[in-house]
């Protein structure tokens, strides 16, 4: 990654952290604050990372996907729904229900991605319109079913909104239950620290490294990139362009599905309409800023995560906010950071971006 880009990312993270440390210093020690910020950053960056990876697979193969937001939303809803069914109707225990929910979320993401693939690749619909269709469809279906199933009298759950069977456990808790209480020391040292993350968060980081390996060191990655740069060239050496694109878009959907699972199965145990709140789009910005590379996208996702973490931590320390800043309603301004950062990144003043050459262009024989 170029120095300019790296410098910018580092600078922003330092600024965000410093503000929080300064404000919270009266209530807590700087080291604790920094630790908390890092842990929160990694956690909230999870859907952004997975969304960015989703975009990465699609776009490296040449298909623009702005429907990541919709895919995550749908996955969040259906994964949550599945976990509730498994828990209250099939009678499974909490953890298996949650895991089952995650798998169903991933499946949902893949399904919506299949729709996007059919529209963009087979029907050659304009890819941004196709992505918009996915978003509108996801909003409509989740809103409708959410209301139909939980709020209507006579609906299956009779007007009560159940909670998902909790959320996925963090690393410390997982080790604790595996050890049946025998690993007290290990659990205590991990608990509350930076690496005490929940499974999807850890999985996201692993997937970043895995994607880097696949994209740049395997046959699949070479062919995918070829299809995204110059599909006709790939065609002339016998590669099936449409099939590669389908496969990569679906993989992207699976990633987005996992990202959606984060919202309702790891972060909070319930579903709110429109709860993804633009994060699918911010994930796209992270992908662009990372110049379509896995580690680059992850770094950008961490920056966005840091700004969100700052918002959360400022809430915790709100009594310590000096009155002058409070008048500025600082939470609104902080809330704007991800969006403004995204726009800045897109102007390219922080470094040039080179998308795959055939990105967004349907392939015609």
């Amino acid at each position: 990654m170029e120095l300019k880009r790296f410098g910018f990312i580092a600078a922003i993270i330092v600024v965000l952290f410093s503000v929080v440390v300064l404000i919270g210093s009266s209530q807590s020690s700087p080291l604790v604050i920094i630790g908390s910020m890092i842990a929160t950053t990694i956690a909230v960056a999870t859907p952004l990372t997975l969304g960015a990876l989703s975009g990465l697979y699609c776009e490296r193969a040449g298909v623009v996907n702005i429907g990541i937001e919709g895919m995550m939303l749908a996955a969040a809803f259906f994964g949550w729904l599945a976990s509730i069914y498994m828990n209250s109707i099939f009678g499974w225990a909490a953890l298996p229900s949650l895991i089952g929910g995650v798998f169903f979320a991933i499946f949902t993401g893949g399904l919506f991605a299949l729709l996007h693939a059919v529209l963009s690749i087979t029907f050659k619909v304009d890819q941004i319109i196709g992505g918009t269709v996915i978003n509108i469809l996801a909003i409509g279906v989740t809103g409708f079913l959410n209301r139909q199933m939980f709020f209507e009298k006579g609906s299956i759950f009779g007007g009560n909104v159940p909670h998902a069977p909790g959320t996925l456990p963090s690393l410390a808790k997982a080790i604790d239950s595996l050890c049946n209480g025998g690993c007290g020391g290990l659990v205590n040292s991990i608990s509350g620290s930076v690496i005490d993350q929940k499974p999807i968060a850890l999985l996201a980081i692993l997937l970043v490294a895995f994607t880097h390996y696949v994209l740049f060191y395997t046959r699949w990655g070479l062919r995918t990139r070829a299809v995204g740069e110059h599909p006709r060239a790939a065609d002339t050496v016998g590669i099936n362009v449409q099939r590669m694109r389908y496969a990569n878009v679906i993989i992207g959907g699976l990633m987005a599905g996992l990202g959606g699972a984060y919202f309702t199965l790891e972060s909070v145990p319930s579903f709110e309409p429109l709860m993804t709140n633009g994060r699918g789009f911010i994930a796209l910005a992270a992908m662009i800023f990372g110049n379509w590379t896995p580690f680059g996208a992850w770094a950008a996702a961490l920056v966005f995560g840091a700004s969100q973490a700052m918002q959360i931590n400022l809430q915790i320390f709100r009594e310590s906010i000096p009155p002058q800043l409070a008048i500025l309603q600082i939470s609104y301004i902080v809330g704007l950071t991800p969006y403004i950062l995204t726009m800045l990144i897109l102007t390219g003043i922080i470094g040039k971006t080179t998308p795959p050459a055939a990105d967004g262009v349907p392939y015609e024989k």
Partner: protein
């Protein structure tokens, strides 16, 4: 080559595209170890036939045999498996990949879960050395010069053990010397048993290197002859179907004062690298200055900077004594520039617009077409009708989208639009690329007519024949410099070819 062993045979190939019968019951055969040229003008169906043989298209009917056995080729994978390799006119290389990655794409070797880049590089090195086609496996293809990229394409086919090689218009991007080099390689390969089909529309090449020549016209085969049995005029008339005059009728030029003066002109490319390094030349009214040179030596950037599509980084341009350096396109149009662009579908036309709208593309904003911000439809229609008739544009109506016209007629729309204004300077960049012979003749005659009317004409073309036929003076561009400016009578083709290749820069 004395074997009459037929290694590839295509019989009764027919292929229809919407509105066009590209191949009409075509028969074609290739003998072992021969160099067989497929000759025809643009649109004759040569590339379609080869794409069918290579598996990129499926024929509507007909059959193919390789080594006497009937085969069905559904995709490039099949043809590659049969030992057929193809080098396309527009390279099928991925600029951001290395040479090794491009060569192994589709046929990758994997060692312990990871691409075996080193192994492939070694194999490529051995192969390229064996055939005298040295390439650097680790270089990024996008940074290689065109001649080397072509080599990579050829090595790519040999890597897959191709013994039938199809070359589609391989000399389109080469200097005369590089073309000779290519022919040497072709003979070398043929001598080793590789059978070669090469597609071209250039008569001289065909007579120079082919063992047999098959001429196609309008989708069907006209004849198959050997070079000994024919000559240029006869081949030309087979290609076109009538007597073709191979030279342009042109009286002597009567140049007037200097119209366009370019001094120390510098231009950067899209990526910001200096591509035109301080060149100087001038064009007088009533003469044609032809800029010869293989594409990619700065001509595109030069023309863009002269016509206002790109800002120059240094130097000065004067027109009729006025300074016009870095002027915008509209300003240049208003002082009398007619620009026939290199890429007609990208710059010169809006394909989805009607013929009538395209005719006023540069003039819509002033009277009679635009009055106080409102488009005057009647004037627009009248103009379209007049120009269609005057320039003989074949179109069912002025309100048809221009995308429906043939390449030649699209170019006529541009020419009609540009030359219907009062014009003092014509800049024509590759004006006849991709056109049929009839359109080429027409465009040439129009260019000469403008000259005779007193306009200064700057002609940029990669087709040396065109330059030599039309120009009064010739300037040669190589790597962003003008390496020679001569009078057409004083220069030989060979000499210009040498200059185009960068050898022997004359004092300019």
């Amino acid at each position: 080559m004395t074997e009459t062993n037929i290694i590839l045979e295509a019989k009764g190939i027919t292929k229809n595209f919407p509105g066009v019968l590209a191949n009409d019951n075509v028969n074609f055969d290739l003998r072992q170890g021969e160099i067989h040229a497929l000759l025809g003008e643009n649109g004759a169906g040569k590339t379609t036939l080869m794409n069918i043989i290579y598996g990129l298209y499926r024929p509507d009917s007909g059959e193919m045999r390789v080594d006497g056995k009937p085969v069905i080729i559904h995709s490039a994978k099949d043809s590659i498996a049969l030992g057929i390799g193809m080098v396309h006119q527009h390279f099928m290389l991925i600029p951001v990949f290395t040479v090794a990655e491009n060569i192994m794409l589709g046929d990758e070797t994997v060692k312990r879960g990871v691409l075996d880049r080193k192994g492939v590089a070694a194999k490529v090195a051995a192969l390229s050395h064996q055939y005298g086609l040295d390439v650097d496996s680790l270089a990024l293809v996008g940074q290689l010069p065109v001649g080397l990229q072509q080599r990579v394409e050829i090595v790519k086919t040999l890597y897959r053990d191709a013994h039938i090689l199809i070359l589609d218009e391989p000399t389109a991007v080469l200097t005369p010397q590089e073309a000779d080099d290519l022919f040497r390689i072709m003979r070398e390969l043929a001598g080793r048993g590789v059978s070669i089909i090469f597609i071209t529309h250039k008569l001289k090449e065909v007579l120079a290197v082919a063992d047999r020549i098959t001429v196609m016209r309008g989708g069907h085969v006209v004849n198959t002859v050997t070079p000994a049995e024919t000559d240029e005029p006869r081949l030309a008339s087979m290609m076109v179907g009538r007597q073709v005059i191979l030279t342009v009728e042109k009286g002597a030029s009567e140049p007037k004062e200097k119209a366009l003066e370019v001094k120390d002109f510098k231009v950067n490319s899209q990526r910001g690298l200096e591509t035109v390094h301080g060149i100087s030349f001038d064009v007088r009214g009533g003469e044609i200055l032809g800029i010869a040179g293989v594409q990619g030596n700065g001509q595109t950037e030069l023309v863009e900077a002269l016509t206002g599509l790109r800002a120059p980084t240094g130097g000065a341009v004067h027109f009729d004594g006025q300074e016009v350096t870095g002027s915008m396109p509209r300003a240049m149009t208003e002082i009398g520039l007619a620009h026939i662009p290199e890429d007609r579908q990208r710059h010169g036309l809006v394909l989805s617009y009607t013929v009538a709208d395209n005719m006023v593309l540069c003039d819509y904003y002033h009277p009679p077409f635009g009055v106080r911000g409102i488009i005057q439809q009647t004037a627009l229609d009248e103009n379209a009708r007049r120009l269609i008739q005057a320039y003989d544009v074949r179109t069912p109506s002025p309100y048809v989208p221009v995308s429906k016209l043939s390449g030649g007629n699209q170019q006529k729309v541009i020419v009609a639009r540009e030359l219907s204004r009062p014009v003092k300077l014509v800049i024509a960049n590759q004006p006849t690329r991709g056109l049929d012979v009839g359109s080429i003749e027409y465009i040439h005659s129009v260019i000469v007519k403008m000259r005779d009317n007193g306009a200064a004409v700057l002609l940029v073309s990669a087709e040396l024949d065109e330059i030599m036929a039309l120009s009064d003076r010739i300037a040669v561009m190589y790597r962003g410099h003008i390496v020679a400016i001569v009078n057409v009578k004083e220069a030989t083709r060979e000499q210009i070819g040498l200059w185009m290749a960068g050898a022997q820069a004359a004092s300019v």
